[in-house]
């Protein structure tokens, strides 16, 4: 109790006297940055997730080919979860003499649980959002269905045994998807009309969906409860199964956010390490005195540890509170951008803040404090008695390890964390080496100029280790500042640029080979963009390496589902744009070998690798080919992409249809309807709504990323500040002595400026190089983006370095030249 009370009192007194300021502020910035990010990410990603779950029209979806037991609905209602139902079946619908195949979707009034339907009063009329579903006796038809029937709203159509009036054009369903198999156009009806249609008969191809939505924790519990009760025919889908474009956008934004949080934590750790060093240095006398006053070694250690723990808790509480308030402010500032109410954040960032504070302080401040505790008592008599030298390498290695473990816990992406760790170590090593060279070189420059220059260079040389540490710290701080201010925009722009405003928004599928030239001609006449026609062959996988699919035990259930359903294959001589090989090689154009290139995640789910042989059944004929390459696909590019692409020789003789994607503006709507009428067998899918979903994810994510970067920027400034403070005491004292000896203000300031500008110039130059290399690495290897080196970065680095570091040095010494040197000497 005695030590707790005393530790607390000493901590408060240190705070009041300003001794703790740098250390506490560095810590608080770190925690504020990290928790603000965590709170905001939590909210934004939840909002993004909610937006993404719209593509399921629910948070959780249960699908089955058989009628779904009412027990599940009852369970959901008991758990406080909303439900909706959808029953889908194919059926021919008639408008008088004309008929076409439609996907009849019968829904209950709560549908959709996530997202909203968009309808128009008639063809080509503007679409508006609606909270309703078709009334009993009514139906809503898609443009495509109306085009095929040649009808418009107001028509009465026959569906099974009943007649329904088309009252609206259905422009958008959140869960409409855009899979190639989604062939028949939709007719949305009220589930209450389903019995009257008498469409459900034994042997009908009916699929049932039960949708669930509710608070995250309830859904998660409910999912766990539901899973073991499901029959093999029943399949649960959630956000993981949301469409790949949105998932891909979310993954990328997640990586941006994680990266920024990681960098703030690392920077804060550096700032804490530097300020702890100064704190320990200034408190050796106190430790000697406490020992002289009778305190035992163990008591002193306990006192230091308690103070550290208290600082952790207080820093964490202040940091978490500020973090929470900051994200509230950010969310408020960006309320127009977010466009929808953000859900409340969870509590996990609080724990995160506390654990991070503990990790950073124990990893980077504790070694210095332990060292400080070892100050011999004899120091009260002899000021030259120092604590035994510390093995900084070993101590900080432990700290690095603690922080890396923390980072892994936060982001759970070992590749990213290891990349950052290796990058950070490499940067430290290069900066340290460069600092050492500067120190050595500065000895040679001493004679080249006047006394002020000599004093500046001599200082660099004499404070060898300190100078190296300052080059490392300033270099690191500047590098991050540049990475954030200059390179961030490039990265974000490149990312957003990957989905330009004229990205394809109309997909045409089921184009027969003979229709390709006709369609090309039609598009040409209508002055619409001429798309590339990509062949598509439908097939079923029969065997992998001669083992029949039925006999394979798949480790990944998703792989099993892929293997057992029909696949869309394509063939090509060259790799599609936006695809990138990760393993193997693309075949020679015109090869007669049977080769396949497989999308890398698909390959892993299916359990196949380079050299494996896949066998297919294409329209009753067996075909085999060998996997010769794996590749990644930019799913969020909205271009036609395939899991499996074959060499042309393998598939060219099999029946294929074609697909094409193009951009058409709102003014081209009537041309598209004309196209649908002229090519009734071609399915045109309007992707505008899906594109909007992905753009929305990108907008929200970039807001979060900007906010995170803002805090990382603060952490960078904290490092610069801590670095400038680290040699402040000695510098003030020496400058006071120079002044006492008659040096003019100008001379003292010039000396300091020379020293800091040399450090700043070097740190800036290295920072530019580092920032450019890191940005290039991030763009190419982490975010899969093209990167262009910017010469502005190289000019800005040395300039900013000289400016920032020079100014901070001058500001730190300003007190000495404006106050009497006596006051500095007296307090020394």
């Amino acid at each position: 109790m005695k030590s707790i009370a005393l530790a607390w009192r000493l901590l408060i007194r240190d705070w009041k006297s300003g001794e703790l300021t740098v250390l506490a502020v560095a810590l608080i910035i770190a925690i504020t940055a990290l928790t603000a990010v965590a709170f905001l990410t939590d909210r934004v990603s939840h909002a993004v997730e909610m937006r993404a779950t719209e593509s399921l029209a629910a948070d959780l979806r249960l699908g089955s080919s058989q009628s779904i037991s009412a027990t599940y609905s009852e369970l959901a209602v008991q758990a406080g979860i909303d439900t909706a139902e959808m029953v889908t079946m194919p059926s021919v619908v008639f408008d008088g003499e004309r008929s076409t195949l439609a996907a009849i979707r019968a829904v209950t009034p709560t549908y959709p649980l996530r997202g909203t339907l968009k309808t128009a009063d008639k063809l080509l009329a503007p679409a508006t959002e609606t909270e309703e579903i078709p009334a009993i006796g009514e139906a809503w038809a898609t443009k495509r269905l109306l085009a095929r029937l040649g009808s418009n709203t107001g028509a009465t159509i026959t569906v099974g045994n009943t007649q329904l009036k088309i009252t609206k054009v259905l422009n958008f369903r959140p869960d409409q998807g855009w899979q190639f198999v989604d062939l028949a156009p939709t007719l949305l009806i009220n589930k209450a009309d389903l019995d009257a249609t008498a469409l459900i008969q034994p042997g009908s191809r009916v699929s049932y969906r039960l949708l669930f939505a509710g608070p995250r924790n309830l859904i998660s519990d409910f999912k766990t409860e539901l899973e073991p009760q499901l029959s093999p025919a029943e399949q649960l889908s959630d956000i993981e199964d949301a469409n790949p474009q949105i998932r891909s956008a979310m993954e990328r934004s997640g990586r941006f956010l994680n990266l920024a949080s990681l960098v703030s934590v690392l920077l804060a750790a550096v700032a804490v390490a530097m300020s702890a060093r100064r704190y320990a240095h200034r408190h050796r006398d106190r430790i000697a005195l406490l020992k002289c006053l009778g305190s035992k070694q163990a008591f002193i250690m306990r006192l230091n540890l308690l103070q550290l723990l208290m600082l952790t808790v207080v820093g964490a509480v202040i940091g978490v509170t500020l973090g929470y308030l900051s994200q509230e402010v950010l969310a408020w500032v960006a309320r127009d951008l977010i466009a929808q109410e953000l859900p409340a954040p969870g509590a996990s960032p609080i724990l995160l803040g506390l654990v991070t504070a503990l990790c950073i302080l124990c990893g980077f401040a504790l070694p210095d404090l332990i060292q400080m505790g070892k100050t011999p008592v004899l120091r009260v008599l002899r000021q030259d008695v120092e604590p035994p030298p510390m093995a900084y390498g070993i101590s900080y290695l432990a700290g690095m390890f603690a922080v890396l473990a923390l980072l892994q816990w936060i982001v759970g992406d070992l590749k990213l964390v290891l990349g950052i760790a290796i990058g950070a170590l490499g940067t430290f090593a290069v900066l340290g080496l460069a600092g050492w060279i500067l120190v050595k070189a500065s000895g040679r420059f001493r004679g080249v100029a006047g006394v002020a220059w000599r004093y500046g260079f001599a200082n660099l040389n004499r404070r060898g280790r300190e100078s190296v540490i300052q080059v490392v710290a300033f270099g690191l701080g500047l590098m991050v500042l540049m990475l954030l201010t200059l390179v961030r925009n490039d990265l974000m722009d490149t990312w957003r640029g990957s989905l330009p405003l004229d990205a394809p928004n109309q997909f045409m599928i089921n184009i027969q080979p003979h229709e390709v030239p006709q369609m090309q001609q039609f598009l040409d006449e209508q002055q619409l963009q001429a798309p590339q026609f990509v062949p598509l062959v439908r097939a079923r996988i029969t065997a992998i390496n001669s083992t029949l699919v039925e006999d394979i035990e798949f480790t990944d259930p998703q792989g099993e589902r892929w293997a057992k359903r029909e696949s869309n294959l394509s063939f090509s001589d060259s790799i599609q744009s936006g695809n990138k090989l990760t393993e193997g090689e693309w075949w020679q154009a015109g090869t007669d070998q049977h080769e396949i290139s497989v999308e890398v995640d698909f390959a892993s789910e299916l359990g196949v690798n380079i050299g494996d042989e896949l066998s297919f059944d294409i329209a009753g004929e067996p075909v085999s080919a060998t996997v010769t390459s794996l590749r990644t696909v930019e799913w969020d590019s909205f271009k036609p992409n395939f899991f499996m692409v074959f060499s042309t020789a393998t598939l060219k003789d099999y029946p294929a249809s074609y697909i094409a994607a193009m951009y058409a503006g709102a003014e081209d709507d009537s041309k598209i309807i004309q196209l649908m009428r002229q090519f009734p067998s071609v399915t045109v899918i309007d992707l505008d709504a899906s594109l909007a979903q992905v753009r929305d994810v990108m907008d929200k994510a970039s807001l979060a990323v900007q906010a995170v970067f803002l805090f990382t920027l603060f952490a960078g400034f904290a490092v610069l500040w801590a670095a400038a403070q680290s040699s402040l005491d000695q510098r003030s004292f020496e400058s006071a002595i120079l002044r006492t000896l008659g040096a003019s203000r100008k001379r003292v300031l010039t000396g300091v400026a020379v020293e800091f500008i040399a450090i700043g110039l070097l740190a800036g130059l290295l920072a530019s190089t580092g920032a450019s290399l890191i940005a290039w690495h991030l763009a190419v290897n982490v975010f899969d983006l093209q990167y262009q080196f910017s010469p502005a970065v190289w000019l800005a680095g040395p300039f900013l370095g000289m400016l920032f570091v020079g100014l901070s040095g001058l500001l730190a010494t300003w007190k000495v030249v404006t106050h009497s040197p006596m006051s500095v000497l007296r307090s020394a």
């Binding site: 005695k2 009370a5 005393l6 009192r9 007194r13 240190d14 009041k16 006297s17 300003g18 001794e19 006398d285 106190r286 000697a288 005195l289 406490l290 020992k291 002289c292 006053l293 009778g294 305190s295 035992k296 070694q297 163990a298 008592v377 004899l378 009260v380 008599l381 002899r382 000021q383 006051s823 007296r826 307090s827």
Partner: protein
């Protein structure tokens, strides 16, 4: 059987301190023996490098001799480990240093409170305030060391040394950083407190006038006691 209370406050027997230096072994103290009675005021004088501060450090238990024995009252200091000596210092010893050693981040009052807080005194503020008033600095209790003059800093240090009412007070060049007049004021206070509390006083000083005010003066030369003079 209880040990009878020793007649001395402090005793050293054949104290030697030898350190290794680049030039080889260096004898700083050579076979020094000394006994100090309860309440006695003793001054140790000598030129720089004569071994005065080393002797003081050993007598106060701040360092260990290479050979020889030291007793502080009934406790043999040289047989205790660092923690044992620390406990003894907390209980029986006070210090005043040439460079004051006030903690810059604590106010004058907080500096004086510190040894009381370490000793778990329930009312540290009251006693510390009283001690500050005794040295005439009640008005400056809230000031930080950098806001005090050298003489004031040393008076705070004296208040801090006496606030736990130690048996022995060691002072290492207490006036070394002060001008003559301030030095005398500080010494007046030091001696006044010594009389009031009956504390044994061991002073190291260059200042002969200060030494003359003590009961006994020990002159050191090259690590040995050269002369001893009673007042």
């Amino acid at each position: 059987m209880n040990n009878p209370k020793p007649t001395f406050a402090l005793k050293a027997e054949n104290l030697s301190k030898i350190v290794t230096s680049p030039e080889g072994m260096l004898t700083i103290l050579d076979q020094v023996s000394l006994q100090v009675s309860h309440g006695e005021r003793i001054a140790i004088i000598g030129a720089s490098g004569a071994g005065k501060s080393t002797l003081l450090g050993l007598l106060a238990g701040l360092d260990l001799p290479t050979s020889g024995k030291i007793w502080l009252g009934e406790n043999e200091l040289s047989a205790l480990d660092e923690d044992g000596r620390a406990a003894l210092r907390a209980d029986k010893v006070g210090f005043v240093f040439q460079s004051f050693h006030l903690i810059p981040s604590l106010t004058a009052l907080e500096n004086v409170m510190l040894p009381l807080e370490l000793a778990n005194n329930p009312q540290p503020q009251q006693a510390a305030m009283q001690a500050l008033q005794n040295v005439g600095l009640g008005e400056r209790a809230g000031h930080y060391p950098k806001q005090l003059s050298g003489g004031e800093k040393q008076r705070v240090a004296i208040a801090r040394a006496y606030v736990t009412q130690p048996t022995v007070l060691f002072a290492d060049e207490p006036t070394g950083n002060l001008d003559q007049q301030t030095g005398e004021t500080v010494i007046d206070i030091l001696f006044k407190m010594n009389r009031e509390y009956g504390t044994t006083l061991v002073l190291v000083s260059h200042d002969l006038s200060l030494a003359k005010r003590c009961d006994r003066t020990i002159q050191m030369e090259a690590g040995k006691i050269s002369t001893e003079q009673m007042a």
